[in-house]
């Protein structure tokens, strides 16, 4: 559905209103040791309305998408706001007016492949792994495609359509070492439908060979030594650092909730080498993994420079927080399902590259670790963070040594960023992130490799 088809509903809007029609389409395939254990598709679609009235919000959603359903959700959302207003008096919300417009359909231009062809694709990769890596004790391949399609109309005149697809192949390889399973997972793919991200299965074979080599090194590797160490965090870890450790503390709703970043505006919070941006849709001339042009409140999405050369400059906002802080909304209000209300969410959060070469960064470390792949992560309102690290190597006298078993890194982000002494001159995006904050949401994370001091958990 395009915004023009929704326009006829604008007569329903008495108060500030957002009307959103959304459809999330998923394909899920899982192959465990050669057996196709999951072959599924799903669709979640419907319409929602959010109304602001007398200082309160009302929201309502239904899976039916027709005119009576739209009338019903707008009416019920309005009633919900009235119910709250009837219980307590409150000043009206100050919501900056925005009327973003856009039509961003990222559907593939290639001929669509059937689900049978996707299964054949997985089968070919599985056959290759089975034939070439006999030492593996197990292999799991999971293909997940998500197409998120949204149409938005607001009482302020915003009209936006977006179809944002994401296709990911997760590959979990396991090897036995001394009777214990050691695993390594890698995610391939990102923005786009399957046809845009994957071609012939053989195009992945080189990556799989690298993944297997890292797994072997991990299996024969060591546990990290617990405590603080000088580390090179590779790009993927820098990305999750930008997202988890800094990004969340600078979401304006968390700032209003007491995040430590509330005290740091316009103060030095990082090494002057560090600039950290939540990009809306494109960065350094390229489309980001999760492009957002108009957010789910109808605000045109703009880049938000959170830290500029070490100084905290901006928070990420929705309309309500922008009104509270007397700032401009940044286009960070996003909802996952049709039945979800928009929340302040990051889009594509990245530390900008520096000038060093990765090789010279590793060579500069006498005794430390090169940490490459993140697992899950969590951050605190104090900026204390934790990330799992699933792949890495020790560094001794400037040279890479033995592989590492799984470990965890932690620290206080704003302290860690002050220890950053080198950034590599390249930048890598990961498009497989799924952030959790009441609702899940796809996010992009990026960055260069960074040299810093961080605490590790070990044995």
């Amino acid at each position: 559905m395009k915004p023009a088809e929704l326009r006829s509903q604008s007569h329903l809007f008495d108060d500030y209103t957002e009307l959103r029609v959304q459809e999330n389409r998923n394909i899920g395939l899982t192959m465990q040791n050669g057996d196709l254990s999951r072959n599924a598709r799903s669709v979640q679609s419907g319409v929602s309305a959010r109304v602001a009235r007398a200082g309160y919000w009302g929201f309502c959603s239904t899976p039916e998408v027709d005119s009576p359903a739209m009338e019903r959700v707008v009416d019920r959302a309005s009633t919900n706001a009235k119910i709250l207003a009837g219980r307590s008096q409150r000043a009206g919300l100050h919501l900056p007016s925005t009327a973003g417009k856009g039509d961003h359909d990222l559907q593939t231009e290639h001929e669509r492949r059937s689900q049978k062809e996707l299964i054949d694709f997985l089968r070919a990769i599985d056959d290759h792994i089975l034939a070439n890596y006999p030492k593996l004790s197990s292999r799991v391949l999971a293909l997940n495609n998500l197409d998120m399609q949204k149409t938005l109309l607001t009482s302020e005149g915003a009209e936006a359509f977006s179809m944002t697809p994401r296709s990911l192949l997760y590959l979990i390889l396991t090897i036995e070492k001394d009777g214990q399973p050691i695993d390594l997972m890698e995610a391939y793919g990102g923005l786009g439908q399957f046809e845009d991200r994957f071609g012939d299965p053989s195009e992945l074979f080189e990556d799989i060979a690298r993944q297997y080599e890292h797994l072997e090194n991990k299996a024969s590797g060591i546990y990290a030594e617990a405590g603080p160490k000088t580390c090179i965090l590779d790009a993927e870890l820098a990305g999750i650092l930008a997202h988890e450790a800094i990004g969340h503390t600078t979401e304006a709703d968390f700032v209003m909730g007491g995040s430590v970043a509330g005290q740091f505006m316009d103060k030095e919070v990082a090494s002057p080498l560090v600039t950290l941006v939540d990009f809306a849709h494109s960065a350094l001339g390229e489309t980001c993994p999760v492009p957002v042009h108009v957010d789910d409140e109808g605000t045109e999405a703009l880049d938000c420079t959170i830290i500029d050369k070490g100084v905290l400059r901006h928070y990420m906002h929705n309309k309500e927080s922008a009104g509270h802080f007397e700032s401009a909304p940044t286009g960070n209000a996003r909802a996952f399902l049709f039945s979800d209300e928009p929340l302040i969410r990051m889009r594509n959060t990245a530390i900008l590259p520096g000038k060093s070469k990765l090789e010279e960064m590793i060579a500069s470390v006498e005794d430390g670790y090169y940490l490459m792949k993140p697992g899950n992560g969590q951050a605190d309102t104090t900026s204390e963070f934790m990330f799992a690290v699933t792949q890495g190597y020790e560094i001794k006298n400037g040279k890479l040594g033995r592989g590492l078993r799984n470990t965890t890194i932690s620290g206080v982000a704003f302290d860690l960023l002050k220890t950053v002494s080198m950034l590599s001159d390249d930048m890598v995006w990961t498009g497989s992130g799924m952030c959790g904050k009441k609702q899940p949401i796809p996010v992009g994370m990026g960055g260069p490799a960074i040299k810093c001091t961080v605490s590790l958990g070990g044995k």
Binding site: Q32, N33, D35, L36, S37, N39, A40, R41, S42, V43, S45, G46, S48, G55, Y56, W57, G58, F59, C60, S61, T62, P63, N80, L84, R87, R90, Q115, I119, S137, S138, T174, Q180, P181, I182, D183, A226, D253, F254, G257, G258, H324, E341, Q378, D380, T381, T382, E384, M386, F387, A388, N406, T407, T408, S410, G411, V412, S455, L456, G457, K459
Partner: protein, 431 residues
């Protein structure tokens, strides 16, 4: 929305006509009402309705699954055609099957409609109570919702199970602030069939809010030691969820589970008995129907330290030759120990009281590491300073064997009932 049982029968009939050897239909209708607090005020009332169906078809031993939330005749007809195609293009597997038929059963629990006024009062009262008793607390997220779920599971073998459940859930994430200092956030969730009881009297709300206020001024540990850890019931719940993941289909089928050959074997301290009780009256957030469409039963997963069951579904059981579990896990009830919490703390020479664990997902071999959050140092039998930047690492299997005691006191979360648990031998390191 209303659930129409005839829709399930008609859909199964259509699937069989379209070529399914075996067919399954799960219909679900859910209405939800939810209050949300932002910046200390109740500022959003959200109501949602949804109706969805999940169809499974098996054709020549090949399985396809399709889920959608459109329940109009046209979209169901399309879904039937589509799931048959999914099955046809799939791969034959003798393990693909559906549940055996049995007696039709209907389960009902909780109210059908929310008491919106009571919900508002409970949450408004909590905000007032917090101002008075926990004045430094700030709610990062506070949500009180009521969901009414009507679920119907039918299949071509004659399974006919229906469950209606009305459930109140309160979720709070909070931190505490004093001047420029703030604590780490903590969170808790409680489920109930009514909105009659004040929120602070449920689960661990009051204790966690109080402790959080004591965690504003933390200290980091210096160095590293191998010490004792007392898991709070809140933290234990998350660990039990992780531990039971090793018992499920994927790790068992791929052979990566550390407990694949452990049925009947001691895997933990003999004083540990862990039940999964989804159908118990004491569990509000339970379930009566498994994901495979069998009537759920309560079970004992670990009996006096011995592993009694894996948590295999029909596919996992057929694939591995193991026994299908009588439930899908969760709804954990750990039997109380014989140690008073105060005595448990007194017995610790050096260790930590672990309020929350922010950690990486454990490896297949059970190794884990992460940060001890909302935690206190215990020294010479006394609770000491609240900690920051403290890391914890160990191995799930070793940790279970090293349990020393379980407390007499337990916390009822509405989804589980859990004690404090004292274990040893974990590596604790400071900054």
């Amino acid at each position: 929305m209303q659930l129409d049982p005839h829709l399930a029968d008609a859909t199964i009939e259509a699937l069989e006509k379209a070529g399914a050897d075996k067919a399954q239909c799960l219909l679900k209708v859910q209405d939800k009402s939810e209050y949300t607090v932002n910046a200390g005020k109740i500022d959003l009332l959200r109501t949602t309705e949804n109706g969805s169906m999940t169809l499974t078809a098996i054709v020549d031993g090949k399985r396809g699954t399709l889920a959608q939330n459109g329940l109009d005749p046209d979209s169901i007809a399309r879904a039937v055609d589509e799931v048959i195609v999914l099955a046809q293009i799939s791969q034959p597997d003798e393990a693909n099957d559906i549940a055996e038929g049995g007696e039709a059963q209907t389960f009902e629990s909780g109210p059908a409609e929310p008491d919106l006024a009571a919900m508002y009062d409970r949450i408004a009262n909590l905000l007032e109570y917090s101002k008075k008793h926990h004045p430094r607390a700030i709610y990062d997220m506070l949500i009180y919702d009521f969901s009414s779920t009507d679920l119907l599971f039918r299949n071509s073998n004659g399974v006919d199970l229906r469950e209606r459940r009305g459930l109140y859930t309160v979720v709070a994430m909070f931190s505490s602030r004093e001047g420029a200092q703030s604590s780490s956030f903590n969170y808790t969730v409680h489920h109930a069939f009514d909105a009659d009881t004040e929120v602070w009297d449920r689960g661990s709300f009051d204790r966690l809010l109080r402790e959080n206020g004591e965690q504003i001024h933390t200290e980091s540990l210096e160095g590293k030691f191998v010490g004792d850890v007392i898991f709070t019931p809140d933290c234990l719940d998350e660990f039990l969820g992780t531990i039971t993941e090793y018992l499920g289909d994927r790790p068992m089928i791929t052979g990566t589970s550390i407990y694949k050959d452990s049925i009947g074997e001691p895997i933990a301290f003999p004083g540990l008995t862990l039940h999964s009780r989804p159908v118990s009256d004491e569990i509000a957030a339970g379930y009566h129907i498994t994901r495979d469409g069998t009537p759920a039963q309560s079970s004992t997963i670990i009996d006096e330290g011995r592993l009694m069951t894996h948590l295999l579904g029909i596919y996992g059981a057929k694939k591995t030759g193991g026994e299908r579990a009588v439930n899908d896990g969760g709804c954990f009830v750990v039997e109380a120990g014989d140690t008073q919490l105060a005595d448990m703390i007194q017995g610790v020479e050096r260790g930590i009281l672990l309020g929350r664990f922010s950690g990486g997902h454990p490896s297949d071999n059970g190794d884990f590491s992460g940060v001890a959050k909302n935690s206190f140092l215990i020294e010479d039998g006394r609770i000491g300073k609240p900690l920051s930047e403290t890391m914890l690492s160990g191995n799930i299997s070793e940790m279970l064997h090293s349990i020393q005691a379980l407390s007499r006191e337990r916390v009822d979360f509405g989804k589980g009932i859990l004690p404090w648990l004292h274990t040893q031998g974990l590596t604790i390191s400071g900054s």
